[in-house]
């Protein structure tokens, strides 16, 4: 039965998708808010004379990791959190030394959770503590499907650790109140933005600074204000080659060249123009006017590294589940 089925479907597959030819295209599976960024990066990459077609797929970073594990044939992943690439390492799709394959731990740009409020900031939101106040509605994406949502959790927790001097009961109380203020957890960062802007839900959107600044620019500075909190959480956006896919397709060179481009001054320039903070200090300095000062804590400082975060916070029944009553 299986064999018959396999033969039948193989006929269809071979008839409809080009699997043997030398690949001239690669697929980039990416996070939700990076649609415009990678459209611009791809155009800039093509301008350097590269002939490869880079296809894009966007959704919540973890939802994308799931899709790759399910067989989405992405040659490269450009995620927003290390934990999502680690899922692919566990699944045998990405080699475990991926971070050393590219400069800066394979993170070409970074951002951090910031706030977008309605014009004039009617609820007076200036820092993380205000998000847990009574009568404030907060929008951010589902931490189970979106790296963006998990960064929000980590940033809020990092702020609370300082604020409550590590008193776990108080930290949990704050986070529980914060999560209770969220009327809807969309599965991706862009869907959360749409909920805030199109559906007019909530008083404050928590999303990457990249999204906050780009929405403000796109939809009008007269409608929204960007608010930078006192402290936030460094969100480096890692990239990796999906070994299992490129080896099967013979597209490793194309994939590598494309990701390397993101670290070049041209690639970095495009990132900065799309409000992603570039890892290249010279490019960042040139765009200093666009990016306000902010104190960022790192995963190592606040939580002792990604492995610890994954085990203590994000595992089933972990600290995140305690405050995110997603039943």
């Amino acid at each position: 039965m299986n064999k018959l089925l396999a033969t039948a479907v193989a006929a269809v597959v071979l008839g409809t998708s080009p699997v043997f030819a030398q690949p001239t295209d690669i697929l980039n599976a990416s996070y939700d808010i990076a649609r415009e960024l990678f459209e611009a990066e791809n155009a800039a990459y093509a301008a350097t004379g590269a002939t490869v077609t880079v296809n894009q797929s966007h959704a919540g970073s973890s939802a994308q990791a799931r899709a790759v594990l399910e067989g989405l044939a992405a040659d490269v992943v450009t995620f927003n959190q290390v934990t999502d690439i680690d899922k692919l390492v566990d699944g045998g799709f990405v080699s475990d030394d991926w971070a050393s394959e590219f400069p800066n731990n394979a993170a070409p740009f970074y951002s951090f959770p910031a706030f977008l409020v309605r014009a004039g900031n009617p609820k007076g939101i200036s820092d993380w503590g205000d998000l847990a106040a009574d009568g404030v509605q907060v929008i951010f994406p589902n931490p189970k499907t979106s790296g963006n949502g998990r960064y929000t959790y980590l940033a809020a927790r990092a702020w609370a650790i300082e604020e409550y001097a590590g008193d776990e009961a108080k930290i949990e109380e704050f986070l529980t109140k914060l999560f209770a203020n969220v009327p809807v957890f969309e599965t991706g960062g862009r869907a959360a933005t749409t909920a805030f802007t199109e559906r007019q839900l909530g008083d404050v959107l928590v999303s990457f600074e990249a999204e906050v600044l780009s929405v403000k620019k796109q939809l009008g500075a007269d409608k929204y204000d960007a608010v930078t909190p006192s402290v936030s959480f460094l969100s480096e956006f890692p990239v990796a080659i999906v070994d299992k896919v490129v080896d099967a397709r013979g597209s490793r060179d194309l994939a590598k060249a494309y990701l390397e481009f993101l670290f070049t001054p041209e690639g970095q320039e495009v990132a900065a123009a799309n409000f992603h903070r570039p890892s290249d200090d010279a490019v960042l300095a040139a765009h200093a006017a666009d990016f306000p000062e902010i104190r960022l804590v790192t995963v190592d400082e606040a939580f002792g590294g990604w492995d610890k975060v994954a085990a203590e916070h994000f595992a089933d029944g972990g600290l995140l589940d305690k405050v995110f009553l997603n039943q």
């Binding site: 973890s62 589902n142 009327p183 957890f185 969309e186």
Partner: protein, 278 residues
């Protein structure tokens, strides 16, 4: 309706049986089996925890109540349209008749896009409704409207042929015996179309229960308020929570199966009724 069964006198039994069985096995049965195995593998307690959780219960409540209201509206509208299309002749009748099927022909995502635009605060309908405090987008009213739109044709298309078949002499006889138009309707017409009307309503309800494309555009997708079961399944898949998705999909499948059996029972009731009245 005269039908003589010739036992395998006609050719093609083996071929058509083979093709049908192969197709049903590969395209329909095997995928369903895969889901049943997933559900079967999770254990009763786990299953119950998922399907009876507060969020799931709220999703059933929202989905079923919205589908129910949409069906009541479509029952009335369907009756009206079927009546007008069979009993009267007027200019534009054929266009009206053709338009009834628009919701079947128009993709649900397009329907959702259109409805959310129409009912936006600045939309053609929204600007009339919203100042009067009636908000449709991102509320349960939006879900009901999306479900209504996508299932308009069912009642019309099931009642219409039956209304056409009602013998006019029966009505005429009732009238000459001094029955008022209302009596003619309630004593003669209504009992005749009832099975078809019910079947149309059940089909309409089933479609509304499963509607996804049109609803996700216009519903706010708020857990406990405007989150329908189909959307919750979709979210569970994205969360990589396959047990959660499988259990909820199983609930919808069982509901669909029951409604299908009910429709078949109603349709055979209708056939018997039609045969008897002939």
């Amino acid at each position: 309706m005269a039908q003589r069964r010739s036992k395998h006198l006609l050719p093609g039994f083996g071929l058509t049986l083979g093709v049908s069985m192969l197709y049903i096995t590969i395209i329909i049965a095997l995928p369903l089996l895969a889901m049943l195995l997933k559900v079967g593998g999770m254990g009763w307690e786990e299953f119950w925890r998922i399907v009876a959780s507060n969020r799931s219960l709220a999703a059933y409540r929202i989905t079923f109540s919205s589908a129910f209201i949409a069906t009541i509206f479509n029952g009335a509208l369907g009756l009206l349209l079927a009546w007008v299309l069979t009993r009267y002749s007027f200019p534009g009748k054929r266009i009206l008749d053709a338009l009834v099927d628009l919701p079947f022909a128009l993709p649900t995502a397009v329907a959702g896009l259109v409805l959310v635009t129409l009912f936006a605060p600045t939309g053609w309908y929204g600007q009339l409704l919203e100042p009067n405090g009636f908000k449709v987008n991102y509320t349960q009213a939006g879900i009901i409207i999306a479900m209504t739109f996508t299932s308009i044709p069912f009642v019309v298309r099931t009642v219409q042929p039956v209304l056409e078949d009602i013998q006019v002499d029966l009505e005429e006889a009732a009238k000459t015996l001094g029955a008022t138009p209302w009596q003619v309707f309630s004593r003669v017409i209504w009992p005749t179309i009832l099975p078809a009307f019910m079947a149309g309503c059940v089909l309409s309800f089933a479609r509304a229960l499963g509607e996804f494309g049109a609803v996700v555009f216009i519903a706010g997708n708020l857990p406990g308020k405007t989150e329908i079961v189909s959307l919750l399944i979709f979210i569970r898949i994205d969360e990589y929570n396959y047990e959660g998705a499988a259990a909820l999909a199983f609930v919808l499948l069982v509901a669909a199966f029951c409604l299908l059996l009910l429709t078949n029972a109603l349709q055979s009731w209708q056939t018997r009724y039609a045969d008897r009245s002939r």
